[in-house]
Symmetry: C2
């Protein structure tokens, strides 16, 4: 059994996007086993257990990932993750990966795949609501698929937004008001908000939105009127209804599962698509265990390892 | 983060029984978080993911365990397991344990706790149906709670039963017919059978049965008439209905969930008990994630470790 440490080093973002795209394609064709993630509540946060089997890669395993918002105050990341990989022939654990950065990257890659298929423009102004680790992962991954002309970012903490914008040297990036950040071609929301941050009237026709932040019951970032107005695609139906951007509007009776247009997998395989370039499209991402397997397959070819005795 | 290898060495069986008993007591009082285990089917077997949080021990984690019946032909155990332990304050993974032997031991301990509370006799003739690793774990754990006068064992493979009986030097143990093995005070079934092995007429009044083997849909070891005749206690209601001894009879309409008398946790806290010493009692064990956490707590005080970098 091998333990992989610095798994994210020297990984190619384009290669990751393609691997994630293939995983979504398998999901769209119903070729994977992936029960909805299981939540356990801890005193200061929670952890999620995500088992899956991806036959096309002959890969099975489980990601275990926590969310503890108070962690930065003690010098730890809010989100940390470990992935255990099993040999599919014998069920034996063969690898354990530090998957903290891989989790950021595979979520960024899902956003890139969604933007590739759903943005009607290939040269885009990118709006970022929220300027944390996931905002960075999103613009880096999206930049592999679309030409970014400009980045407009906003955070509740304007100092943080300023700093984030300054850290981006390869694009024209600046910190703006939330309303101005929403005036873009591809909008990415990555906040931990529990009430809408993005108002429908700020979003112009033809915008594609990656709604990333909502990943637990009670979380939401978008004005429910945006969901009514746009075409909503989810990563996984069961997970999105339970904990994605649509979870609160569905619970409150403002939106129904029947209004979900389809899954990203169905978009990737061409079964579903946006109608006209003037529609708003929304990708509701909760994060899939098959994304974790797909990126683990790449990381296991690149990372540094320690051998561990097993069985 | 620490990796624990030879976790089962120098562990005290009595200490394990008490820890498992306490975990069941917490379960009976509804003080734990433990969603039903999640099954993923692989080409030659399956694996189960078992997350839980046991507040009384401040312990959270996930056991990942496979069942691959063909493994012995390539020199690997049928069942192998890994447990990941998280720090409950931060969600950070702090330990990984090789849990293959711990799984045997914690299942044996559950049988011992059930026999302690449900066998009307303290000096017992022990019947073992199935003579593999789990049969050994059961008699070793039960011997800590009850006085074993004699062991009668049976296996479909009589040579294997002979060898098993000869390996037991501390008790009068012998290989007998299946009918004779069932004529005992405490009967333990540990086979992978998919049809009843134990017939109701072979079991005398007052016998306590640990039904251990059935742990997946379609598996069963006992004549359904035994379930109707006896008092059935399960380890966990949802898991037992899905994959325990009762799963086939319930699916076939021969038994109902309403006929389940209660859980072992309820027995341990005194909420439920056998009625008279003449009744047959049955403990339907599927294996709980909280058992894995409870035994991990002991193993982490004893095992040899390797330090691994994380985060």
């Amino acid at each position: 059994m091998r333990y992989f440490t610095d798994t994210e080093k020297s990984m190619d973002l384009k290669e990751i996007n393609r691997a994630i795209e293939t995983a979504f394609s398998d999901h769209g064709r119903d070729l994977v086993q992936m029960p909805p993630k299981v939540y356990i509540t801890l005193p200061e946060g929670d952890f999620r257990t995500m088992p899956a089997y991806l036959p096309s890669l002959s890969l099975a395993g489980v990601k275990i990932v926590n969310v503890h918002p108070g962690n930065p105050s003690c010098g730890l990341p809010t989100v940390m993750a470990l992935t255990v990989i099993l040999d599919i022939a014998t069920g034996m654990p063969v690898a354990i990966l530090n998957a903290t950065k891989l989790t950021d990257m595979r979520t960024g890659a899902a956003g890139a795949v969604a933007a590739k298929y759903l943005s009607p423009k290939k040269e885009i102004v990118l709006g970022l609501i929220g300027t944390g680790r996931q905002a960075e992962a999103q613009y880096l991954a999206i930049s592999q698929e679309l030409d970014i002309c400009e980045i407009k970012c906003w955070s509740r903490n304007s100092l943080h937004a300023e700093k984030f914008a300054q850290s981006i040297t390869e694009y024209n990036a600046r910190s703006v008001s939330v309303e101005k950040a929403c005036d873009c071609d591809v909008l990415v929301t990555t906040t931990p908000s529990r009430e809408p941050v993005v108002r429908s009237e700020w979003v112009k026709e033809g915008t594609h939105i990656n709604a990333i932040g909502a990943d637990a019951p009670g979380k939401q970032e978008l004005d429910p009127r945006l969901l009514k107005r746009g075409l909503v695609f989810v990563d996984d139906m069961a997970q999105a209804v339970h904990s994605g951007e649509v979870n609160v509007p569905i619970t409150e009776g403002l939106f129904t599962t029947g209004e979900i247009k389809g899954t990203l997998g169905e978009v990737v395989i061409g079964m579903k698509q946006r109608g006209s370039p003037d529609q708003v499209t929304i990708f509701d991402s909760t994060g899939l265990a098959i994304q974790d397997l797909a990126i683990a397959a790449i990381a296991m070819r690149k990372g540094r390892t320690t051998d561990l005795p097993f069985p």
